[in-house]
Amino acid sequence: VNSFSSLDSDALHARVQAFLRAAIVDPARTPEGFDAIAVALARHQAAHIPAVARLARARGIDLATATRAAEVPAVPCDVFRLTRVAAHPAGDDVAVFRTSGTSQGREARGEHALRTTATYELGARLWAERLLWPDTTRLRAIVLASPLAEQPDSSLGFMLDRFATLLGGGSFHLRSGALDAAGVAAAAAAARDADEPALVLATSFALVHLLDAQSGLDLRLPRGSRVMQTGGFKGRSREVAPDELRAAVSSAFAVPGAQVIGEYGMTELSSQLYETTLAAALGKWPANEARHGVYAAPPWVRVTAVDPITLAALPDGEIGIARLVDLANVDSAVAIQTADRVRVLPGSTGNHSIELLGRAPGAPPRGCSIAVDDMLGPP
């Protein structure tokens, strides 16, 4: 492991940001190729992050001669919990995003440390402009999540805070863990009065709490409004099937179902994937490729389904667990191995789209030995 150079890191961030800006316009006209940047990032990371270097050694991969992103060893998400996955020293952290709280306490939470949020913010904004508000920025952000001050280590909280800022402020309606349903209704009424469409940004469990509390509340939103929902329930609310939740949200906010879209993201990534039904409804995405349950990756993210046992890549269309190469992960791990089951779908846009099929089932319970999921309950 070599000594870290912030100049080298800055140069890589600049290369990645140039790629992002070009790729969002035309993925075929970027200043350099996806693979070249991915490999450069992997070399930088292996030079400064023992976990990445060890993984490459264990796989017999010589990153010095690697040329393809597919050769970069993927770091399992669990590793972010077990060790620091950051090229820079902890003293340079400007943000540390942590995985959701669990009954295991802070030390057992995965950590994604960033020395700059600039690349993260650029990627999040560019892809949101494409799939969340491709038609207008005149949207009122109604956020059903805690304000950033209450959850400074949440990557989702950071993203929602930035989106609200980009859209002119917005209102937050989850305080100290309690949902302010009346506040949501007031924000909806204000949007109606101003005839200004709204973007509801919400966690799934907050939506369930809102729906459970909405009796007598008028949540209808003006035409052009939309809802982005993300995350699972994790014991924080009753579980609701995606179709059922979408229908209920659509009805409560008076928003067409196509304009209720899901986001797929995780603390260990710097980029997000979205359902494309909203963009398709607005004529900004091929309609025949848009449906709920299918999430589009930005052009700086490649998703591969890998065999869950051999971790070898599978052909597009086969079901495996998701391996993501995210160029916005400059100082952590450019390739991430998740346990999420996906099918990668070919598309005319050149973007990788995935059908999200849920988390790989853990070992079926046999005997009374405790399972991982039983230990990682809500806090």
Binding site: P76, R81, L82, R366, C368, S369, I370, A371, V372
Partner: protein, 339 residues
């Protein structure tokens, strides 16, 4: 209870017709290898009970006019203790074995004249013993009629402490003898070994454990491993490749994390996570797990063991090599008994 124990002795006997039937049944349902079934029946079935243990067992349960038992797909031999506890609570016992993996429950029920039901309906005053995940127990508890005395027997894990100054190869052989039975699927099965000392000592222990599991595994092969478990092993191995060293045997994995920030729970399939620690690290590493720990095995006294037992005071202390052989003195899982 004593009749149940006497019956267990017949089940353990491979020449007894009941012993033959038990071997046939467990081979079909338990997922263990033939040798694994033999090991479970001959070494891990409670075939005797002392007067003191019987007194402890009787004191561990509340008596009730009727005792109903909902069994889980538990390790094959666990039904014996579950039924013994039910018989200690009441002379009128009804059980509902797991459909997927009934283990010895059907034979025990038949031979002891215990009722078997598809649906358990407990009435006020009845004792209801529930085996399963914490979520299952919570569901049953919530659905139980007022006045039903519900006792949950949840899932858990064992932790092994390798104390300072002990012979590592000897400790590894003893721990392997705790990992192999039931293919590590018991709630007393050790999943994590905490080695008192530095990373080098933990590495030496991991290598010794790998060798011990190879030896013992050759004599008692692991049973079939389903795809989901194989996938969990693959992801665990990949994580270990990043943080430390993986010792992968033909039917086991030992994962070494030489500088643990937190513990990792490996899949229950003869996979052991090994970390170094000092007593001062115990609260950080073991503290979050304390509520799940059913037993703490150890190779001898030491500061780390003291710290671990202080964190999990209800866990059964046991010598390495004896973690899977608790006396028949009450539930294997003693968490909550003091409440």
């Amino acid at each position: 209870v004593e009749r149940a124990v006497a019956l267990a002795a017949r089940l353990a006997d491979r020449d007894d017709p009941l012993g033959k039937e038990a071997r046939r049944d467990l081979a079909l349902t338990s997922g263990l290898s033939r040798e694994g079934v033999e090991l479970a029946l001959t070494e891990h079935l409670e075939v005797a009970i002392s007067g003191d243990d019987l007194a402890s067992l009787l004191a561990a349960v509340d008596t009730a006019p009727r005792c109903q038992v909902i069994l889980a797909a538990n390790v094959g031999t666990a039904a014996l203790r579950a039924i013994a506890l039910a018989l200690a609570a009441s002379s009128e016992v009804t059980i509902r074995p797991s459909r997927r993996d009934p283990g010895l429950a059907p034979i025990l029920a038949r031979e002891l004249g215990i009722a078997v039901a598809e649906v358990i309906t407990a009435a006020p005053g009845d004792a209801l013993h529930v085996y399963g995940t914490d979520a299952t127990i919570a569901e049953v508890r919530a659905a139980a009629a007022p006045g039903v005395i519900v006792t949950g027997h949840g899932t858990g894990l064992g932790i092994a402490i390798v104390s300072a100054g002990v012979d590592l190869r000897e400790a590894a052989r003893a721990l392997a003898a705790d990992v192999i039975p039931f293919d590590q699927r018991g709630c007393l099965s050790p999943r994590v070994a905490v080695v008192e000392g530095d990373a080098d000592r933990a590495a030496a222990f991991a290598a010794a454990l790998d060798a011990a599991l190879r030896d013992l595994g050759a004599r008692v092969p692991r049973g079939d491993v389903d795809e989901a478990t194989r996938a969990a092993i693959a992801l665990y191995g990949a994580a270990i490749d990043a943080v430390g060293e993986r010792f992968a045997g033909p039917q086991h994995v030992v994962g070494l994390d030489p500088a643990p920030r937190a513990l990792q729970l490996p899949p229950a399939a003869r996979v052991v996570h090994v970390v170094p620690a000092r007593a001062i690290d115990s609260a950080r590493l073991l503290g979050p797990w304390a509520g799940f720990v059913t037993t703490v095995g150890s190779s001898g006294p030491g500061a780390l063991l003291d710290a671990a037992l202080a964190l999990a005071p209800e866990a059964r202390p046991a010598a390495l090599g004896k973690m899977q052989r608790p006396p028949l003195d009450g539930p294997v899982d003693r968490r909550g008994l003091g409440k």
